[in-house]
Amino acid sequence: MNEITIKVNGKSVSGPVEGRTLLVDFLRGAGLTGTHVGCDTSQCGACVVHVDGKAVKSCSIFAAEAEGAEVATIEGQANPDGSLNAIQQAFQDHHGLQCGFCTPGMVMSAAALLKENPRPSEHEIREYLEGNICRCTGYHNIVKAILAASGQDVSAIAAE
């Protein structure tokens, strides 16, 4: 067991971990169950969080590797007053979720994308979400929500 400290959504979280403890298990064990485990095989992206600002699959990194890092999860995404941030609000407005299981990972990937590329094209959004799988929506409304969150007109993307 190693004792590690990770800054999660701005707050220090410490705890003992085994070498094999995955970051996602550390987070969920700390009560942050918004980060989901869909596949546990690095395929689905439901577990995406940011480590030092970069999107990573938290089922595919050991907690000990995030020692000292800044981690951002879905729980830290809302505005300080508790209202939904622009991406979250756009997912609601454009029906970018159905069951919601993939949504935390989708929102975290979208946030990483918009940080790198504030006005992505529809194609760039679809490419960026290659590692985020959704069983419900057919992706269209997710793409629409991200376009809207980046302040772009969504009327042009037809409902396919």
Partner: protein, 262 residues
Amino acid sequence: MYAFDFERPATIDDALKALGAEDAQALGGGQTLIPTLKSRLASPSKLVSLTAIPELKGISTGDDGTLCIGAATTHAEVAAGAGAYPALAALAGNIGDPAVRNRGTIGGSLANNDPSACYPAAALASGATIVTNSRRIPADEFFDGMFTTALEEGEIIVEVHFPIPQAANYQKFEQPASRFALVGVFVARYPDGVRVAVTGAAEDGVFRWAEAEAALASDFSAGAIAGLDVPGNAMIGDLHGSPEYRAHLVKVMTGRAVKAAG
């Protein structure tokens, strides 16, 4: 996952010491090794993470003009930072998805030598040199069949040196579920000849297609390979494609790569 000890050294020396323990294994980005551990296909006594070693990271130009990439440099960092070798940057930027590219490393990809991985094709087609903690291994001697390389127990890749070609291109025909290469072909033209490396296709992993290299050396055009027979290597056959299909794709992808390299 079986239990193991975990170390995260800050220097190459400490990493080598830690790797001296019985059944210790290096951990790069973990994008291959962690799923392997989960399915209990590996059971190291100790994992030695290479991600906190500054000496293993970064991209620079060597005195001999080669592009030198640290083994623990991520795919995303190569995509953004290997502008001196655009075909290599493009290859790195198309591996997996953004989250995989933020963790996966060039050293891990080469050491793993997955028969469908992208980097082995780039290293072989570029005549790259794989620099380890103890020696320099030419790419032509590094890849030793599916998931096997010339690396010895406890030896780690430190850096990879890529001679920069006059023209190059990588064409990847994606297996639509995994997005690994069903067939990928990297073509690179140097003053002393053309190198063509094929991944995804053969049972023995990445290989050079000698007939195409000879044809392209005298005429660097897609037409030059039109008359060639498909390579005679034993090709992979699985639910994604038959051996004949893969052999055919090698020729198609080589033609596309030559055309795109210009």
